[in-house]
Subunit: 327 residues, 2 copies
């Protein structure tokens, strides 16, 4: 089996690559080769049992996507995107990378569709939804994104469905919750604080909380994100049916509940490293974000995630901090 | 006031042009100039009080959309599209005309957005919805189109919302019901029979009915379509809010109710000119189509349509047949 990962140098892409290297198989089939693509050269995984090809290229560039498909990757994980903050700050770049890049990839698959039919897993986002919302957003709620990033992801979903319906590919789109705890340095996502307030205090550093503690949001761990991708790559497409895009399960918690979980897992001293510093801009952005979902279809299809925020914190401590934090 | 109409040679475009020529004003403001664009040169209206410019050009072609905007049309009616049947038969043409054409037009407005802010009225379609449906589709129902045409219209809606949110334009998207009775010759739309079974018998000709009489669908007259466009062009954008796309009101009737209305208006002999001839392909397509809506937002914003199918037939007889039909 040959696997192609776009956006492979990103946080989720590199975790997925590590997981594939560890498993050596996908859905029970041995992996022969993994092709990793990103705008910067993705690092090769250590100790992979399969061939690894890395490529630094812009998927939205002429001919780039088309060059990747003749090798017939059986599974394509299309993760490449610029994040919400950047897509909002740079209108043209957002549409070029997130819309044109996706379309060029799908068109490259379409152009080759007489020869084969790959499973294409597309990472969409809960940013396709925009306020006002019902208490728990159902699977049939409309897409009225309030950001260009959400717009671009919603368009990607529509293309994925139509190209799948036409038999050009076998697509599954998964709307990821906000990934928490995001490791490493903050990126340009306005949602960064949801992770900062856990990751930084655990590392002995102060973290700024720009919103009030009653802000509710929808989370899952990086480990769950990788599990979602693997499950989306291997599940029976017939069971998905014509509606190819799925809201992934998550955990609906308030910032106050996040902090209480941190206190429970790591103690008062760690939790006291969170410093409230209200930021009107971030508060306004976050107001338009979803708070809770009823992801019935994904649950019925076997997608699973964490059931408590303590578990999310413990995963971070185990997987990113070698099991130890700064008390 | 300067008005630009794309797709001006089409059925709705030419009726809109006639109406503007008759009114001489839009929303109380005198019209100075109307620019009519289509792939074939649109006919000029008779007796217009304003300057008329016609242009035969492909909106998806390089530089075409960009050439139309520096004249700063105050209102842009973006009607240009290929219909569902053609977009389904020709994948590339559908995406080029319906998606790229729309995006190029919106991008041309965006590139000029430091200079002015036009009202852009975009004709979307109920084809953005795909079965299964609730009994009456609410305004917050998701878009899962089952055709490429519906996909392209749904993408146009998303772009319109985002470009409006960013302040590049003042967009209003209207999801037109199936227009009935469509005058003239059949086009490639699979929905053609809804009009054929009224128009042809009234003209003394036989019409083929390819589906069963219990098929229910959502209709409004060409006159209503023009009224929707005029209302969308002149209503207060602030009242629309951030959700810029609206399902237009319509009339939910079965084919049997259409035939009963024809019998009531024109008599048994006319109604007997309908010949059932089941067509599996059309039946399968129609199964995925919406049957009924609860278009609360559009009604609250003052959009109105016919309240009986008899009225729809009478409008056709009056406006297209000079008040007389072949009994």
């Amino acid at each position: 089996m040959h696997i192609l990962i776009t956006g492979a140098a990103g946080m989720i892409g590199s975790k997925l690559t590590k997981r594939l290297a560890k498993d050596g198989t996908l859905g029970g089939t041995p992996i022969d080769k993994v092709t990793l693509v990103d705008v910067v050269a993705p690092p090769e995984p250590e100790k992979a049992s399969f061939e690894v090809e890395t490529l630094a290229a812009d998927l939205a560039g002429t001919g780039v996507a088309a060059s990747l498909i003749p090798a017939r990757p059986d599974v394509i994980f299309h993760l490449a995107a610029i994040v919400s903050g950047e897509a909002e700050a740079d209108f043209e770049k957002g549409y070029r990378v997130n819309l044109d890049g996706t379309r060029r990839l799908f068109d490259a698959v379409q152009a080759f569709s007489n020869h084969y039919m790959p499973r294409v897993v597309f990472t969409s986002s809960i940013a396709v939804f925009g306020a006002p919302f019902p208490d728990a957003i159902p699977d049939d709620f409309h897409h009225t994104p309030l950001t260009s990033y959400g717009t671009q992801k919603a368009i990607g979903e529509l293309l994925l469905s139509d190209y799948t319906r036409r038999g050009f590919m076998d697509g599954v789109g998964i709307r990821l919750p906000t990934i928490c705890v995001r490791p490493g340095k903050p990126n340009k996502a306005a949602s960064g604080f949801f992770s900062n307030i856990i990751r930084e205090p655990l590392a002995g550093k102060e973290a700024v909380l720009p919103v009030s503690e009653d802000v509710r949001h929808w989370h899952s761990s990086p480990r769950s994100a990788v599990n979602f991708l693997i499950h989306a790559a291997t599940l029976d497409g017939k069971k998905v049916g014509p509606r190819r895009n799925l809201t992934m399960p998550g955990l609906s918690v308030t910032v106050g509940e996040q902090i209480a979980a941190l206190r429970k897992v790591a103690g008062d001293k760690v939790a006291s490293r969170i410093r409230p510093e209200p930021d009107e801009t971030i508060m306004r952005i976050v107001e338009g974000w979803p708070r809770n979902f009823a992801p019935e279809r994904a649950l019925a299809l076997g997608f699973r995630t964490e059931s408590s925020f303590e578990e999310i914190i413990q995963i971070h401590i185990k997987e990113e901090m070698g099991g130890e934090f700064v008390a």
